[in-house]
């Protein structure tokens, strides 16, 4: 017995060590990848820093400051070191530390993405499940059409059309940005997510204004997520409904809703979690485009602006942040997975 306990502990430790090792290698790979991308850029980082006027001496000084005269691996070590110190360098567009910029723009994207994934999940998962249960009926076809359209529509275009119709044409939605001008700056912090902050500060007018602004982009992003999620939950559900244990549940006398929600749904929860995670990461993609369309001052707009002006520090910072978030979310879903699914405990 005693022996067993030790073995168990060892095993748990081993599992922990391996999963930490996996994450670390993935993170390391992330750094290598961004470093390589950074080196591939044709733009001269020295010039980017020096700006319009420069002379050779200043050039050489900055060249050395940046460590560009060092061998590649030393440069990489520097890169890693800097990142570990949360130093992503300075953006030469905004002239701020990239970290500060990211801290400023990220909450806006997070707010958008969270709302969108909530919309996508709340609508998409039930839709997928219902269409699996009612396979072949009109609702199934509807779900299929919704899903396919969501998979096929260029979101930046849809956004543009929404603005054309609902802003320019009907005037139902605001033309862009996070908030009406007069409400801007009334609440600041602590989360940077305006809706939340406004709620915390009980500034209801700000709250409504922020909600009004976020609705269209969040719905669009949420639609893309919903398309994906409904498709996935439909196929997961179909797979479960063909399982033997469903027959058992029916033989017990359970009604269809109990079978679906109590038995089958429990079995797809974990898979759903994984695809919601994936959808969330996919949302960041959509956010890059939709933020440009809706003038949403978030990570996506920051990234595209940085791309336009070859502001590589900012680009890499943003890309690294997105990669990091994806890894963290995946990790989180992994942990929850282990927690929720008895088979992996």
């Amino acid at each position: 017995m005693q022996d067993n306990r030790w073995l168990w502990l060892l095993e748990a430790l081993h599992k922990l060590v391996t999963s930490v090792a996996v994450i670390l290698t993935t993170l390391f790979g992330l750094l290598v990848l961004t470093f390589v991308i950074g080196r591939m850029v044709p733009a001269d980082p020295v010039l980017a820093i020096l700006g319009d006027t420069f002379d050779q001496a200043a050039y050489d000084r900055v060249y050395q400051d940046l460590g560009l005269d060092q061998p590649l691996y030393v440069q990489f070590l520097h890169y890693v070191q800097n990142i570990l110190h949360l130093d992503f360098g300075q953006s030469n567009v905004t002239k701020n530390e990239v970290v500060d910029d990211l801290a400023r723009v990220f909450p806006a994207t997070l707010e958008l993405a969270i709302l969108a994934i909530t919309i996508g999940t709340v609508l998409g998962v039930p839709l997928g499940i219902i269409s699996a249960v009612r396979r072949g009926t009109w609702i199934d076809h509807l779900a299929r059409i919704v899903g396919l359209m969501g998979h096929s529509t260029p979101i930046f275009w849809l956004g543009t059309m929404v603005i054309l119709i609902f802003y320019a044409g009907l005037g139902w939605i605001p033309g862009g940005g996070r908030i009406d001008l007069y409400n801007d700056g009334l609440v600041e912090g602590p989360t940077g997510m305006l809706i939340l902050d406004a709620m915390l500060a009980r500034e209801w007018e700000v709250f409504w204004s922020a909600l009004h602004h976020i609705l269209a982009p969040a719905l669009l992003l949420g639609y893309a997520a919903m398309a994906y999620l409904s498709r996935m939950s439909r196929s997961f559900m179909l797979e479960q409904l063909n399982q033997e244990y469903i027959l058992t549940a029916r033989a017990k006398g359970l009604a269809q809703p109990s079978i679906v929600w109590k038995h089958a749904f429990r079995n797809i929860r974990v898979q759903l979690l994984t695809v919601v995670t994936l959808a969330f990461c996919g949302l960041l993609d959509g956010a890059v485009l939709i933020e440009t369309v809706f003038g949403w001052p978030g990570l996506g707009q920051y990234l595209t602006a940085a791309l336009f002006y070859a502001d590589m520090n900012a680009v890499l910072g943003a890309v690294l942040l997105i990669g990091l978030i994806s890894i963290l979310i995946n990790l989180l879903s992994d942990v929850v997975y282990r927690f929720v699914d008895p088979r992996t405990r």
Partner: protein, 505 residues
């Protein structure tokens, strides 16, 4: 609609790089700096010939033509509450030169440098500053430089209190205000919004606008819709079609602000093909001046094939070139290139560059020249002299032909390592004809205005006939659409537009 005591300006903030007057030199930054800070003198947008006092109440130029003595206004305080003295003036101008960033050209071009600035610019007492130029220059050039955003006077005490690693407060001033102007910075979120509040204690009286908001709105259509809806007061980045829409329905006022610059095509003279005079000339026949003028360039430029813009001495209205593909072909054949060639053309993104370049590309193709367009930020590459062809526009800090000519038609050292990277001629590796260069500097030193105008006029003609490496086609204008409720908002040709004159109905 916007409140009556607030002005909302829609703009594109993407290129805005901070609000340090000694560092920033983009059009949007400069408009903000013009309002956060004061300078010694200023020029009204409609009278660029006569400097007006701002922080300097009076000034005089000594006999030698080199020594300028400024009396500093009394009782002015910075937004921080610190009093503004000659010490601040002295330190600010030193800072500009010592930091040596883009705006430093305002003083450096007259011969100021790290070594001499401390002795040449000095306070003599609390209210007096003496500026001694290293050489004799036309005094209007010096005063015009002092009126540009680079020579803004900053709050020395505040800047030094925020100093890190001897940066003269550079880090702090990236995103903070240390000025004495009519407005003070309230908040600044890059690529989102910038807000300034009225400085109630401004020496010239509190401005009518309680607050001014600059909003990042890169989409022309969005700017247009917001302006129509009255949600913004001024739109600065409208496309030609949107402006045409406004112009035809007359719902807003359209200001065409002349900019002292040109749309230019820089042909790299290090390139064997592009350095042939016939090839350079051929490009002048490949621009569809008329087509562009009536469509794409309608609100972005005024056709001009020389290098002195409207309103400056020496301006020349002659425009001998027209789109003529056959002529271009003949020139190419003459240059030994009957089958044309392929080159890459680099250009910034956005309107009107993209449309202009595509038009050029199509015409060039007809003449056998294949142009690959590369859209993006290639200024660095241009500065390294490694672009084949670079298409962009220039703008100038000085309302004077000199700065333009210096850039377009002077290049005293065409070697790769020469410290002339600010000059367009150097960037295109163009060995400007010696007599032209000499004329440029002679004109700058000339103190007599009529004589200066004559020199400029002859330079202009020479430029037209020498098949230059920098092909000019349109003189830059910046268009601002201003809501009918707004009055007193006047775009400034050197971008230092002030908001303290604005009132709203």
């Amino acid at each position: 609609a916007t409140p009556q005591d607030q002005l909302v300006i829609a703009t594109n903030m993407t290129t805005m790089r901070g609000v340090d007057p000694h560092e920033a030199n983009q059009i949007e930054s400069i408009e903000i700096l013009a309002n956060l800070y004061d300078r010694l003198v200023y020029f009204e947008p409609d009278n660029l010939a006569e400097p007006k006092p701002q922080l300097a109440t009076s000034w005089e130029v000594a006999e030698d033509g080199k020594t300028f003595t400024f009396k500093i206004r009394e009782g002015v305080t910075f937004h921080s509450g610190n009093p503004l003295t000659a010490k601040d003036v002295e330190w600010s101008l030193h800072r500009l030169v010592k930091l040596g960033l883009s705006p430093a050209i305002d003083l450096r071009q007259w011969g100021f440098n790290d070594q001499n600035v401390e002795t040449l610019i000095r306070m003599t007492d609390q209210q007096t500053v003496v500026i001694e130029t290293p050489e004799v220059w036309n005094k209007n050039l010096i005063l015009a430089s002092l009126a540009s955003s680079g020579c803004s006077i900053v709050d020395r005490e505040l800047a030094l209190s925020k100093e890190q690693d001897n940066d003269m407060g550079r880090n702090f001033m990236q995103a903070s205000d240390a000025g004495s102007g009519p407005f003070s910075l309230r908040s600044f979120r890059p690529n989102d919004v910038l807000m300034v509040d009225a400085n109630k204690d401004y020496w010239n009286g509190a401005p009518a606008m309680r607050r001014v908001i600059m909003r990042h709105m890169p989409e022309s259509s969005v700017q247009r819709l917001q302006l129509e809806a009255g949600d913004v007061d001024v739109a600065t980045r409208l496309s030609s079609t949107d402006l045409a829409g406004f112009e035809s329905n007359g719902t807003v006022n359209i200001q065409k602000v002349p900019g002292y610059g040109f749309y230019y095509i820089a042909l790299n003279q290090k390139d064997d093909i592009l350095s042939r005079p016939q090839v350079r000339e051929a490009f002048r026949y490949l621009i569809d001046y008329e087509g562009l003028a009536s469509t794409v360039m309608r609100y972005y430029g005024v056709m001009r094939q020389t290098i002195i813009p409207t309103g400056l001495p020496g301006v020349l209205d002659s425009a001998p070139y027209k789109l003529d593909v056959e002529k271009a072909k003949a020139l190419l054949a003459e240059a030994g290139l009957p089958d044309g060639f392929t080159k890459t053309c680099y250009l910034p993104s956005g309107t009107p560059y993209f449309e202009f370049a595509q038009s050029l590309q199509a015409n060039a193709a007809k003449a056998g020249i294949k142009l690959d367009l590369q859209v993006g930020d290639y200024l660095g590459k241009f500065r390294e002299r490694s672009t084949d062809i670079y298409f962009a526009r220039s703008g100038e800090r000085l309302p004077d032909p000199h700065s333009i000519l210096q850039s377009y038609a002077s290049n005293s050292d065409n070697s790769d390592g020469a410290p002339l990277s600010g000059l367009l001629a150097w960037r295109s590796a163009w060995d400007v004809p010696q007599d032209m260069q000499q004329k440029v500097f002679a004109a700058a030193r000339e103190t007599d205005s009529t004589r200066r105008a004559e020199i400029y006029s002859s330079l202009n003609e020479e430029y037209l006939t020498c098949s230059p490496a920098l092909v000019t086609s349109f003189e830059r204008i910046d268009v601002k659409a201003v809501g009918k409720r707004v009055s007193g908002y006047t775009g400034h040709p050197t971008w230092v537009t002030r908001w303290d004159t604005v009132t709203k109905a």
